[in-house]
């Protein structure tokens, strides 16, 4: 029974990692850009939520609704003004600019909020749990996982059922031809990053309410997100969810054996998948 419990906790944790990863997967799928500041943007959003909750006294979920358009605007502006300048055949500029951005966000947060651990309070929900058969499941972790599934479904709908999604796919396949059809790639890219920041805000809500966070934890979130994307296979949102779950389960299993092995077990699972299936479990796009 103990193992079953551990695995269920791992799957739910995987939902959080899938939320971290979905935005990364979206941006990479459309413009082949890996945003090394992705983890720090999640932490930035978590601090934005913290400010809204503590300064305005908002409910965290209402605060997330307020933060969504703000983060969308930040993402749109970041892509349109900065990152679009770096897109091209050379992989160096986007990598180094987003790496610089990661360092800047991290240290700006350290300057503004100090290195103290924070948490976004959600009141009674924090400790609430549901009894499902023999195991008890935290309400927030369950809600996190369901949100991850919702985000994946939503992204798939946008990608494959809307005009915007068609423009995303067209630009991703052939930027020049899409341009001839009247699609402005720079705006499509900005919209995609804006959308990724919406997902980031949702991820930040669950990161911030689940456990303590501090300004320096962004890079580790980036690594988990990246591992989930690679395990799932490039371009597949459901694969990303599966990747998140694999990392989550590996981490909780590792922690059950020895608490010091939690993070290590996740990394080893990733390396194992990479060794056996270098293109991930469900590859859709060609790199």
């Amino acid at each position: 029974m103990n193992w079953l419990d551990t695995i269920v906790q791992g799957i739910l944790l995987g939902g959080l990692y899938a939320l971290f990863a979905a935005g990364l997967s979206l941006v990479f799928g459309i413009m082949r850009l890996v945003n090394l500041a992705h983890g720090d943007l999640i932490v930035l959003a978590a601090f934005l939520l913290l400010v809204l909750v503590s300064a305005l006294g908002l409910n965290p979920f209402v605060a997330a609704l307020v933060a969504l358009p703000v983060m969308y605007a930040i993402g749109w502006g970041l892509q349109f003004l900065v990152l679009n300048r770096t897109i091209g055949d050379d992989i160096l500029p986007p990598l180094l600019v987003t790496f610089g951005l990661s360092v800047v966000i991290q240290n700006a947060l350290l300057q503004g909020f100090s290195a103290d651990s924070r948490r976004v309070p959600v009141g009674a929900l924090e400790s609430a749990s549901l009894q499902i058969g023999p195991i008890s499941v935290g309400t927030m972790p369950l809600f996190t996982f369901l949100s991850a599934v919702g985000v994946i479904v939503g992204l798939n709908l946008i990608f494959y059922r809307t005009g915007l999604g068609r423009a995303f796919r067209a630009t991703s396949d052939d930027r020049a031809t899409a341009g001839l059809m009247g699609i402005r790639a720079d705006r499509i890219f900005a919209t995609a990053t804006g959308l990724a920041m919406v997902v980031v805000t949702i991820a930040a809500l669950f990161l911030g309410t689940r456990a303590n966070f501090d300004p320096t934890m962004g890079p580790a979130r980036l690594i988990y997100a990246f591992e989930a994307v690679i395990i799932g296979g490039l371009g597949s949102f459901w694969g990303t969810l599966a990747g998140g779950v694999i990392i989550g389960v590996a981490q909780t299993l590792g922690a059950a054996i020895n608490p010091e092995w939690q993070i290590l077990a996740g990394h080893l699972a990733f390396l194992l998948v990479l060794l056996v299936r270098p293109r991930g479990l469900f590859p859709r796009a060609l790199d």
Partner: protein, 373 residues
């Protein structure tokens, strides 16, 4: 070594000139060569008149320069943008610490062990990360560094997660410390600083010399060809992965040596410090980008700018990294060749000329219809 002569086929070349010469050297670089020798001599003599704190600053600059040259070779020439070089700094440092503290080896031998161990580590690492490309390579190297850090944090004999100090007096066991202390009449602690400094100088010069030799060799030409146009390079028979693998190994070796030397001097090691992505990768990336990526001069300029900024902002905590990050972004966006690139664009001066220049031959304008007409 300095001039290669290409014999041109007679059907293409006018009779007036039967040969072009490909040269890498110009007048400025010959003057620069003298300048470099002078700086080097001053560098060797520095401990005779510099204070201990200056020597320690120079040690820091030289070791950062070594790391920067290695990263520059990877990212600027081999197209391998690694964010995980701290794996080799930390592993080299840990193997050095184990050799000294547990194995009782001579410190200089321990440094060599550190470098060799880092190179050995880079072989399985390459097996994983060479399956990834571009940005995925970058984060893949980072994951490996994290794995190595977490594994070494389990090594209880070296203090586990909290780390350990090297045995006291290890500095005095460095070969030559007693000799230096006797010759110059200084206390052993100062003599040790002098020896550390000379080792760092030797390592930095070796790293620069290695990069320079490599880039002027046939393999270096292949590297540049792969970087500029991978497909065309393959078409003329260059195997990009073999060259990249060799560069990756060499960079790991030198990075491991630097890590071992740095932690021998610090005499205290912990996994979080030895595998710090900020100290050993972020700083190094900014040094190379600000100075000028893809040049040997760039990291030298970059490390000087880095050191000046560090001293200016030392009291402002996170502002320092904030400014460094913004500067790095601005340079990448608006002057991607860095400070040295800006300088050399205007003046054409190269201190370490590695670009091949076609000179002589039928370049005179009077010949019409020649191959360049």
């Amino acid at each position: 070594m300095t001039h290669e002569t290409l014999s041109s086929s007679s059907s293409q070349a006018p009779a007036a000139a039967s040969a072009w010469t490909v040269t890498t050297r110009n007048r400025a670089s010959s003057v620069a060569a003298l300048l470099i020798v002078a700086v080097l001599l001053a560098g060797i003599a520095a401990p005779l008149f510099a204070s201990r704190s200056v020597l320690q600053d120079l040690f820091f600059i030289l070791t950062m320069l070594t790391l920067a040259q290695c990263w520059n070779l990877l990212a600027g020439y081999a197209g391998l943008v690694s964010v995980g070089q701290q794996a080799f700094v930390g592993f080299g440092a840990y193997v050095m610490a184990a050799s000294v503290a547990l194995g009782g080896f001579d410190p200089v031998v321990a440094i060599l062990f550190g470098g060799l161990a880092a190179m050995l580590l880079s072989v399985p690492t390459a097996l994983f990360v060479f399956r990834l490309h571009g940005a995925y390579f970058a984060i893949g190297t980072w994951v490996i560094a994290e794995v190595v850090r977490l594994l070494l944090a389990q090594w209880k004999a070296l203090g586990g997660g909290t780390g350990t100090s090297l045995p006291t007096g290890v500095a005095r066991e460095l070969p030559g410390v007693r000799l230096v202390a006797d010759w110059f009449g200084v206390r052993p602690a100062q003599a040790a600083d002098m020896v550390y400094y000379w080792l760092a100088l030797l390592l930095a010069c070796a790293a620069i010399g290695f990069a320079y030799r490599l880039l002027r060799s046939k393999q270096g030409l292949g590297l540049a060809a792969v970087r500029d146009n991978g497909q065309a390079a393959r078409a003329v028979g260059i195997d990009p992965n073999r060259i990249r693998f060799a560069v990756y190994l060499a960079a790991a070796f030198v990075t491991g040596l630097a890590g071992a030397l740095i932690y021998l001097q610090k005499a205290r090691i912990s996994p979080d410090a030895a595998f710090s992505v900020t100290d050993w990768t972020a700083y190094v990336i900014f040094i190379v980008v600000i100075g000028g990526i893809g040049t040997i001069e760039g990291p030298i300029i970059g490390v000087v700018v880095f050191f000046i900024l560090r001293n200016l902002f030392a009291d402002y905590g996170s502002w320092y990294l904030l400014v460094l990050g913004l500067l790095g972004i601005a340079i990448m966006l608006f002057a991607p060749r860095g400070l040295w690139g800006l300088f050399t664009e205007r003046t054409g001066i190269q201190l370490f000329p590695v670009r091949r220049i076609l000179a002589g031959g039928p370049l005179t304008k009077t010949i019409k219809g020649g191959p360049h007409g």
